[in-house]
């Protein structure tokens, strides 16, 4: 693996390998000293052209636990206005001797472009536009596997704003590769124009789908895309696609509810539902560090 741009770069074997290595790193996270010297002397830059505190912190924690040096570059709107292009920024940062770049950008495909611009850096997609967020999907799979033991054969619901969701695209690829069956639950206005080639079923009836689900992945409703254009009102969205307290009672007791965060309590998930035992949101955050350690380790020091 030269770069991690899409879950499809990994394939089933690659995903399994990341999850296996992540288990070893999850154990590191339980030690009195949660740090290993594995990537001592390596330098990792996080290039975030879009605000994201939690993903950035997770990657930086992962890099630090691997003893890598971390350079944190965030582009405010002002720097963009100064006119430096992404390409120049990337070339400048790489010239400082970076070994890996974690790139987040509001435009789909930027990490793919960056991978063409770098000379020897490894590129990790930290989320690009509506395209993909591979490490999020990997940590979701890791968490689900931790709870359920196995992913093969599970029924996964991906609920909400699939159209604008990079998480959904990565999840569909990852869950499918690991043998789960995926159903998208969304109104037509929040689905991509074409699902040709997507290994999914589609429904807009959450009540009917919920009782059979092993995994419920709630997507964040991108509030800025907002009511009016894609859904009439937030209230109607919650009524039809929110995991309300009433709907939570339809859940199988062994079901796993994931959310990529940040959660909007009261919209896609009711406040008390977020605290149900089935909801594994904080566990996802913990596992996110281990999974990102695994990805960085496999790219920079591992067997690939």
């Amino acid at each position: 693996m030269t770069h991690l741009l899409s879950v499809s770069d990994l394939g089933r074997d690659g995903i399994e390998e990341v999850l296996r290595v992540a288990e070893a790193f999850a154990e590191v996270g339980t030690r009195p000293i949660r740090k290993v010297p594995t990537l001592r002397g390596k330098a990792i830059a996080t290039l975030f052209f879009e605000d994201s505190t939690r993903t950035r912190l997770s990657f930086e924690t992962a890099a630090k636990r691997l003893s890598a040096d971390v350079l944190s570059f965030s582009v405010g709107a002002s720097s963009v206005k100064k006119g430096e292009s992404v390409r120049d920024t990337v070339e400048t940062i790489e010239a400082m001797g970076m070994d890996a770049l974690v790139v987040r950008h509001p435009s789909a495909g930027v990490p793919v472009q960056v991978s063409r611009w770098v000379r020897r850096c490894k590129v990790v997609n930290g989320g690009d536009g509506w395209h993909e967020h591979p490490t999020q999907a990997l940590l979701d799979c890791f968490t689900v596997r931790q709870v359920r033991g196995e992913i093969e054969g599970l029924r996964v619901l991906v609920v909400g704003d699939v159209l604008h969701s990079r998480v959904a695209r990565s999840q569909v690829l990852a869950y499918d590769a690991l043998g789960a069956s995926v159903t998208l639950v969304a109104p037509g206005s929040l689905l991509p124009a074409s699902l040709e080639g997507w290994p999914v079923e589609v429904t807009d009836d959450l009540d009917a789908a919920l009782p059979k689900a092993d995994v419920v992945s709630l997507l964040r409703l991108q509030a800025e895309r907002g009511a009016g254009m894609f859904v009439p009102t937030l209230r109607e969205y919650t009524a039809r696609f929110g995991l309300t307290a009433r709907r939570a009672r339809l859940l199988d007791p062994d079901a796993v509810v994931t959310h990529p965060g940040p959660m909007i309590r009261g919209v896609e998930i009711a406040s008390d539902v977020a605290d149900l035992p089935q909801a594994v949101v904080t566990r996802q955050v913990t596992n996110g560090v281990a999974v990102r350690m695994a990805v960085l380790f496999l790219l920079l020091g591992g067997a690939m």
Binding site: E17, R20, V21, E23, A24, E27, V28, R31, P32, I33, K35, V36, P37, T38, L39, L66, F297, L300, G301, G302, A303, M304
Partner: protein, 184 residues
């Protein structure tokens, strides 16, 4: 076996001479167990740590021998040193199995157990890893085979068998005994 797995990619171990039979191996384990108990004045504060993956069955064997000899269970853990190796990035290094240290190691007498002692680099990585679990009072090293060719100033405290080898030879340790051979 850790040694075999690391160097084995794409090549096959061809056995030449068996140097210890299964029974020999068991006798060596029992002797080492006795030496450990003797050196440490019993099992109080002793933690056996088997190195993944070859050292783990040997550590279990020593623990079993100690239970029979001393009538008590010794604390036992496992350690994978992949993340501490000094050849990361130089060749494929992957974690092979779980690390499980049963207690904080501060003040304990840790006995590292591995199958074959060769260059000493795995043990160096293990010493580094152990230090992240606390400050042990003493760390001792038990190996079934010491085959020489050390690249670091490391020596074993308990040895099953000293076995002079050529560098290009391989030593295989399993429950069936110890065999010398080559990779082809």
């Amino acid at each position: 076996m850790a040694e075999r797995k690391r160097s084995n990619r794409g090549r096959i171990f061809v056995p030449r001479t068996q140097v210890l039979s299964a029974a020999d191996l068991h006798r060596a384990l029992v002797r080492m167990a006795h030496e450990i108990a003797e050196r440490n004045g019993g099992l109080d504060g002793v933690v056996l740590v088997g190195l993944q993956t070859g050292g783990v069955p040997l550590a279990r064997g020593i623990a079993e021998a100690l239970r029979q000899a001393e009538g008590a269970d010794v604390l036992m853990g496992t350690l994978d040193v992949a993340f501490y190796r000094d050849d990361i990035g130089l060749r494929p290094v992957l974690p092979e199995a779980v690390t499980e240290i049963p207690c904080e190691l501060t003040g304990k007498a840790v006995v590292l157990v591995d199958d074959v002692l060769f260059t000493g680099r795995t043990v160096r990585a293990a010493l580094h890893a152990l230090s992240d679990f606390g400050r042990a009072r003493t760390v001792q090293l038990a190996v079934m085979v010491d085959r020489g060719h050390r690249e670091l100033p490391i020596r074993p405290d308990y040895v099953g068998k000293n076995l002079p080898t050529r560098r290009d030879e391989m030593v295989d340790v399993s429950e069936d005994g110890v065999t010398i051979g080559t990779l082809q």
